[in-house]
């Protein structure tokens, strides 16, 4: 089981610390979601966990060993990454791109084996992109392109998979499809999945473990039901909301209270968190 | 708030640049093998005395200075506009084949027709530049996709390669032609009089109008063709009109002063590092800093190797390179 942990981690851009003294353990074999407002450091944290950023302080360990002490290709066989804003050179076919995910297993000179081929096929099938295999990546729509990049990360066949905002550009159907796919991966193969997600409701639904960041520090972590409370949303996002159990999945559903379209909000039922402020008695009047 | 401060910073740069230009222009009138005092210059300009040797020198330097202003401004402007059209940091105005076409035409003129006068070179250069640019544009526009920045840059670079090669064929097979051509191809402001300046003026004016008018449109282009179209811009038209302006400016400048490479290539990059990516600032700053560099180089060339002169085409590179290097080191990494 891959245990990825951050110990007293400090990450900086230039001289500005974005994440300071952060410690956490990514639960192995589970789906972890990292959420927070824009610029709270969630992408930075992911980049630190995946060795893209050198820590200014502290360390990231995998199986107890500092990840910086291992050869890069070694690490890449255990930990796969889908970065934000991936860019493919012009004229690259989908099959080629997904095939590049096999690099950690092949190295600079290794040949192409049956296992590599199978991995590519599995990845294409899992992301429903097999029919696009011959097309050029830059000809695809935003959503198709995203799925193809996920296929590349899947082809890497790692114990750990880190994804930075993998649902950008995807319509709701495909967002759900991708998250279902990642959940499949987790349930069937035991892959530890860490996702930075901006959609709070989907994050709450799909997470086994939720980490909420604010200004580079962990404000809360744990099961969605425990973490996603009105108080926390207010603190982390600066947003007034009602939280109630999602009628479809039972996980917390965040209903934001904006300046418009806020008729009488349903009574926020406590979601089981002991510290939840009682919401009964507060009826929001629509503010024109 | 922040944009106002940014705007005033940029306005400050522009004012500083204009001030520098005025100073350099004055220096261009005063400095040289014969140093002149401001009093003499003013006297020569207001009450010209044909018998006075000093006044004659001023009279010779005035068109030279004006030429420096025009050519420098044209090259700076053309370079900045070319970057906007080609969206490629390696693209200079010569990328449309302008320099190569001009050079080949001049070489052909010298070799086949024995042309020796500067005015002769001027018309040849201009014709060659225009022809080359037309060919580049037609080739880039053919084939699917039209004249995309990549195809323009590639076609221009490829045509330049072909034309330079042809030119070298002639130069290698005829030493006489080489002997004459090698002095023109250095580029400089010396020895050109009012007739040269006036001949180029209409093309420079037309080109400047086209390019300056395209400032806002170039900002749109920088966001990508799709976004620009979404903003209601006619992308192909913008590119075509700007390219035409670039050809007019660059062709005329090359015709007037010979091929001076550094200005059109480096000044826009330098300007961008000061002003950011807004073409409404890049264009005017390039228009002012281009002649600053060129005149400064010309002045330096007059004093560096007395009693001879080093042509401005050389000095622009020697003067500009250290400044440019400093700017590159300072930058946070080119967002081009």
């Amino acid at each position: 089981m891959a245990e990825l942990a951050a110990q007293d981690l400090t990450l900086e851009y230039g001289a500005t610390p974005v994440v300071a003294g952060l410690s956490c353990t990514i639960p192995p074999g589970k789906v972890t979601m990292i959420v927070g407002a824009n610029a709270c450091g969630k992408s930075t944290l992911l980049r630190g966990l995946s060795r893209l950023l050198k820590p200014a302080g502290g360390a990231v360990t995998l199986h107890g060993q500092d990840i910086r002490s291992r050869p890069a290709r070694d690490l890449a066989r255990q930990m796969g990454l889908l970065p934000q804003h991936p860019s493919a050179p012009a004229g690259l076919s989908v099959r080629d791109l997904v095939g590049r995910g096999r690099y950690p297993h092949r190295g600079a000179f290794g040949g192409w084996s049956r296992a590599d081929e199978d991995a590519v096929e599995r990845a294409l099938a899992a992301t429903d992109t097999a029919h696009l295999a011959g097309r050029d990546v830059d000809e695809l729509s935003g959503g198709q392109r995203q799925r193809v990049w996920i296929a590349m990360a899947l082809a890497q066949e790692t114990e750990l998979l880190l994804l930075d905002e993998p649902t950008t550009y995807l319509d709701l159907a495909h967002q759900v499809e991708v998250l279902d796919l990642l959940t499949d991966l987790n349930r069937r193969r035991g892959t530890t999945v860490v996702i930075v997600l901006h959609d709070l409701n989907l994050a709450a639904r799909y997470a086994d473990h939720l980490i909420a960041l604010k200004v580079g520090r962990i404000v809360a972590q744990g099961a969605s039901a425990a973490v996603v409370t009105e108080k926390l949303i207010r603190e982390v996002f600066g947003l007034e909301c009602r939280v109630m159990p999602d009628p479809v999945s039972g996980t917390p559903l965040v209903l934001p209270l904006g300046r418009h379209h806020t008729a009488s909000a349903p009574e926020g039922a406590p979601t089981g968190a002991p510290a939840a402020a009682p919401a009964g008695g507060d009826v929001m009047v629509a503010i024109p | 708030m922040r944009s106002a401060r940014g705007r005033s910073v940029r306005a400050g740069w522009l004012l500083a640049a204009v001030a520098a230009l005025v100073l350099v222009s004055a220096a261009s009138l005063a400095v040289g093998a014969r140093q002149l005092s401001p009093g003499t210059i003013v006297a020569a300009l207001t009450g010209f005395d044909p018998g006075n040797g000093d006044h004659a020198v001023v009279q010779a330097r005035v068109p030279r200075t004006v030429l420096g202003l025009l050519a420098g401004g044209a090259l700076g402007l053309a370079g900045a506009a070319m970057q906007g059209v080609a969206r490629n940091p390696l693209a200079d105005p010569g990328i449309l084949g302008v320099n190569a076409g001009a050079a080949l035409a001049v070489v052909a003129g010298i070799h086949l027709a024995g042309v020796t006068s500067l005015t002769g070179y001027l018309w040849l250069a201009f014709a060659g530049a225009a022809a080359a640019a037309v060919v580049v544009y037609l080739i880039a526009a053919a084939g699917r996709g039209g004249a995309t920045p990549v195809k323009l840059a590639l076609a221009g670079a490829a045509l330049s390669a072909a034309l330079f090669s042809l030119m070298n064929v002639v130069l290698i097979s005829s030493q006489d032609t080489l002997d004459r051509f090698r002095f023109w191809q250095v580029g400089g402001l010396a020895g050109r009089d009012w007739s040269v300046v006036l001949a180029g003026l209409p093309f420079l004016a037309a080109g400047a109008v086209l390019v300056v008018g395209a400032g806002r449109a170039l900002n749109g282009l920088a966001l990508g063709d799709d976004v620009a179209r979404g903003l209601g811009q006619r992308v192909g038209l913008t590119r075509g009109v700007t390219a035409l302006g670039v050809v007019l400016l660059c062709g005329a400048a090359t015709a007037l002063a010979g091929p001076i490479g550094f200005v059109g290539l480096v000044v826009p990059h330098a300007v961008r590092l000061l002003s950011g990516p807004d073409y409404r600032w890049i264009l005017p700053l390039s228009l002012v800093l281009g002649p600053c560099l060129l005149l400064l180089a010309d002045v330096a060339g007059r004093v560096v190797l007395l009693p001879g002169e080093v042509p401005a085409g050389i000095m622009t590179a020697l003067v500009g390179a250290p400044v440019f290097v400093w700017l590159v080191r300072r930058s946070k990494g080119a967002a081009l």
Partner: protein, 344 residues
């Protein structure tokens, strides 16, 4: 969708390229102003290898003139083609090449200085060219380096620094051309275009030794470079050491261009043309294809320069670099104009 094993077998266009290169190589050795029959060729080679007495005239023509020239031309073409393709891939810019970013001009400036100021020729000029190329490469690297800042930014700064230095050096070269007598200037012009006229076994041997190191290095860097093409983050996620790969590609690219320039001068435009032409012919970016295309360009150009040009130009033998541009560039233009797929 049937599973297709992407094998290591080269694609058909690449095979055709190799055959074409081989064909032109043979033409260079066998044909031209002095023709050699195939049986004669075997006899000459056999005599040379077995130490038997040489065949008059034919041996000389083949072993001292044609063969070393063709071999040097092939190596120079491959080196330039490879170097250009490496830079174009790394900098993600089809205009990139050692010519454009100043390496070639560094060599030229040093060589022309040697010719005009010091009256040097032959090996001294080659040495100066090599030193010049490497010195400028170091300068550009030093300028574009920064203590902090991602390697993505360094790519843009490298281009900028290179372009500025190139423009400055070009001016220096132009200036030097005006400061000498016409004969020296004419000699310098020939060198500036790249010439195989002084190709010999000694030079070919040195170049071959260099390529023996550099070509495998390029091959080792090819796959990591393909990962870096996907973006620094994605490449790092795949276990590529991005900084080391970039540095390696730059070093190998510069070394290839510098060695080829030392051997034959900055053969114009080969590095720039080989990549785009090979990409349009084979449909994908491929380092071997670029090398083969470079080889093809140089060998064809030299054949024309050495054999046809004298017929057309009353005896003047043209340096190969003059023809490479005249030959390769129109071909690229034709490819651009007739592109029938959505271009990049």
């Amino acid at each position: 969708m049937s599973a297709r094993l992407p094998s290591l077998r080269p694609s058909r266009p690449a095979v055709l390229l190799a055959l074409a290169a081989g064909g032109v190589f043979s033409a260079a050795v066998l044909l031209g102003s002095y023709t050699v029959t195939v049986p004669d060729l075997w006899r000459v080679l056999a005599a040379h290898l077995s130490g038997a007495p040489r065949i008059p005239t034919v041996s000389f023509m083949v072993m001292e003139l044609k063969l070393p020239r063709a071999v040097t031309g092939a190596m120079v073409g491959a080196a330039f083609g490879l170097s250009g393709a490496l830079f174009q891939t790394l900098l993600r810019n089809p205009l990139a090449s050692p010519d454009v970013i100043g390496i070639s001009y560094g060599a030229s400036a040093a060589a022309v200085t040697a010719i005009v100021v010091f009256g040097a020729s032959g090996a001294a000029v080659s040495g100066a060219a090599l030193a010049g190329a490497l010195a400028i490469a170091l300068l550009i690297y030093a300028i574009s380096r920064r203590a902090t800042g991602g390697s993505g930014a360094a790519g843009g700064r490298l281009i900028l620094a290179g372009v500025g230095i190139a423009a400055a050096l070009q001016a220096v070269v132009s200036f030097l051309m005006t400061r000498s007598d016409i004969r020296t200037a004419a000699d310098a012009l020939v060198w500036l275009n790249g010439s195989l006229n002084s190709a010999g076994w000694e030079r070919a041997g040195i170049l071959a030794a260099a390529l023996l190191v550099l070509v495998p290095a390029a091959a080792a860097l090819a796959r990591p470079l393909r990962m870096v093409e996907l973006g620094d983050d994605a490449a790092a996620g795949l276990g590529v050491r991005v900084g080391a790969t970039r540095l390696g590609v730059v070093v190998v690219g510069v070394a290839l261009a510098a060695c080829a320039t030392a051997a034959a001068g900055p053969v114009a435009f080969v590095a720039f043309l080989a990549g785009p032409i090979s990409r349009r012919l084979t449909g994908r970016t491929s380092l071997p294809a670029a090398a083969l295309t470079g080889m093809l360009i140089v060998l064809s150009a030299d054949f024309l320069a050495a054999n046809l040009a004298p017929l057309l130009l009353a005896g003047t033998v043209l340096p190969v670099g003059v023809v490479t541009g005249a030959l390769g560039a129109p071909f690229l233009l034709w490819l651009l104009a007739t592109a029938n797929r959505k271009d990049t």
